[in-house]
Symmetry: C2
Subunit: 161 residues, 2 copies
DNA sequence: AAATATCGTAAACATAGTTTACCGTGGTCG
DNA sequence: CGACCACGGTAAACTATGTTTACGATATTT
């Protein structure tokens, strides 16, 4: 009679009931990409970085922000400099990084990960490697390597405008 | 001297300067998936559906919402029922769909695409097929089919929790 | 030196999501 | 049967996060 949870919070997406044969490349890429994304945050949260949320992942991802300039990070993430700056401010408040002035360039700034920031980033890489091992086991080493190679070719091609 | 644009709006993400060899599966999937996502919205907007925005894509995607129930759509999209309902309301206001009561089940509702909604969904599929043709030409038919097949295997595997 | 472009920042605003709460229907079990 | 409760959907308040607009400081150009 106490009002328990009667609402559905955000959950991991449900797989669609449609045969995979008919699926187009959009869904085939999007769904696993999102699954990985969510899992990284989940495990990062469980690993002591519970103050990191989804949008922070725009920074703790591939090449990592260490040594980069805010504007470049914004461009890589596909968001405005202002939005990126807000994110950076938030992560600075949380103790994951700091912004300092670039040497010899008064207007530029440089992002530096703190020790905690480095730990979180290393952890994210660790989780990703664990995921890669799982995929490797499921698909087999040859096919997994093949999948990555094909995706690399997409990356290097002019397809991604 | 009039205040022209001095700010960087959201742009398409910049490719990172790191060799693809070192990239992990997360980025390899995420970046092309996002590129496709953005392109579909862009072309949908250009094709006369300029009132559709990014979040609407949670509905106009793979199996399509026609005949589905709001709660199921929410689960598939990985968001709360309330958020999905807001989206559905927005799309209903824009004339893309309507919600009606399900027959024989007083509490359930059914989403139905209007003619305009069907047109938009068909257009999205059309754009995706065009993208597939481009990938097919770039990678070669064999390798593109292989890529899709491998992604299907991922989909069917228990990897995507 | 003045004009202008660039990098970073800040505040106002808009959008979109979660949390909290509720209504009506349908099933369950005393 | 009737009380209870689970379930699908909805609405409002709150929160988070992004864009728009605007600006300050530094570098560059003329």
């Amino acid at each position: 009679m106490t009002n328990l949870r009667k609402t559905s919070p955000a959950a991991t997406p449900l797989a669609s009931p449609v045969p995979t044969k008919d699926m187009l490349i959009g869904a085939l890429l999007r769904v696993p990409a999102e699954a990985i994304h969510r899992r990284i945050i989940r495990e990062l949260n469980a690993a002591g970085f519970s103050d990191l949320s989804l949008p922070h992942m725009a920074i703790f991802r591939f090449p990592g922000p260490d040594g980069a300039r805010p504007g470049v990070l914004a461009q890589q993430a596909g968001m405005s400099k202002q939005a990126m700056n807000r994110l950076l401010g938030s992560l600075e408040d949380l103790g994951y990084l700091k912004r300092s002035n670039a040497p010899r360039e008064g207007r530029a700034r440089i992002v530096r990960l703190t020790r905690r920031g480095q730990a979180a980033f290393a952890r994210a890489i660790h989780i990703l490697r664990k995921i890669e091992r799982e995929w490797n086991a499921e698909l087999g080493p040859k096919d997994f390597a093949l999948l990555k190679k094909l995706l690399c070719r997409v990356w290097e091609s002019p397809l991604l405008q």
